[in-house]
């Protein structure tokens, strides 16, 4: 049941015909994990909180630095030196006191990732490197949790939604880790734009309407203001979601 308070607070999204009260109840019952609370993760978790996602877990082991403050909008000057997960959780609880926010100050490793993703309905990519993205992708495939990937560089961005068992996974898309350079330039508006789209994908998936970016990569070029799509293809021999996975498991026996 939607309360009178919820009806007032979320009325403008409940009014969306394909969403309604049932959609809002689904958001309230959902648990979204945001891995990395930098440029992407800040903006994504803000919109998740405003939308009324019932439980948001944010994972980040870094601390806030001055060089973060051109884009990581959940962290302020007063947070310098503070753990990012804690800084983010403090703001998110003030944005929406009716939701549960769980900060996790832990490094994502092969040993820790399965426990971190456990219980999430959707995982949102706020990471800044492909090695960790591949770890999260593999865990999401194992646990059958959708993983909404995004990446940014300067005014460029990309996004796709990975639905285990249905769409190509990150290891299908990139059989080798992309070279993304050392210091990645970025304007704050770029991750905010891509994160907004990640949240749209999460809302559609959780509430069960619309068409996600499953099997498609959306590229954005802010320098020319162009969007481009690329169809993605499953790799039948993928080491994470294809036949390579079984071979890897058998070889470990």
């Amino acid at each position: 049941m939607i309360s009178i308070n919820e009806l007032a607070r979320y009325g403008r999204q409940i009014a969306y015909p394909r969403f309604g009260k049932v959609g809002q109840e689904k958001l309230r019952a959902s648990h979204v994990l945001v891995v990395g609370v930098g440029g992407l993760g800040s903006a994504a978790s803000i919109y998740l909180a405003y939308a009324g996602i019932g439980h948001i877990t944010i994972v980040d082991n870094d601390s806030v630095e001055l060089s973060n403050l051109n884009r990581q909008i959940l962290h302020w000057e007063s947070d310098l030196g503070e753990k990012k997960a804690m800084s983010a959780a403090n703001k998110l609880r003030r944005i929406n006191s009716s939701i549960q926010v769980t900060p996790v100050c832990k490094k994502i490793t092969e040993a820790s990732i399965d426990k971190i993703v456990d219980g999430a309905d959707v995982v949102i990519d706020g990471l800044d490197n492909y090695d960790t993205r591949f770890l999260v992708n593999a865990a999401c495939v194992r646990k059958e949790i959708p993983f909404i990937h995004a990446g940014v560089n300067g005014l460029l961005g990309q996004i796709t939604t990975i639905i285990p068992g249905k769409t190509p996974c990150l290891a299908c898309i990139y059989s080798e880790p992309p070279d993304t350079g050392s210091t990645i330039p970025v304007f704050g508006a770029t991750p905010s734009l891509m994160a907004s789209m990640q949240v749209m994908e999460a809302i559609k998936f959780i509430a069960g309407f619309g068409k996600t970016l499953g099997g498609r990569m959306l590229y954005f070029n802010g320098e020319t203001m162009e969007f481009a799509h690329q169809d993605l293809v499953k790799n039948p021999k993928c080491s994470i979601c294809g036949s390579g996975r079984r071979k890897l498991r058998e070889s470990r026996k």
Partner: protein, 86 residues
Amino acid sequence: MSIKVLIPSLLYKYTDNKEVVEVNGDTVQDCIDAIRDRHPELERWLYRGGKVATYVHIGVNNKKASVADKVKDGDELKIMLATGGG
């Protein structure tokens, strides 16, 4: 045969700040090789083990293309690189 190759902005510094590089070639592979030959620093970004890397996505006239695809005079080839920042 002139093909326009649209360079992603993060690679402008390797193409003398050119957003578009015109090359000649019969296939997508020829065109990528041609821009690499003209701007050798692109090798690191576009190739792995001597082949065009799997993370380099290519569109010809806004449609998905693979390296073996043929191209014709006036085609527009767009390079889409994986972005990794968060």
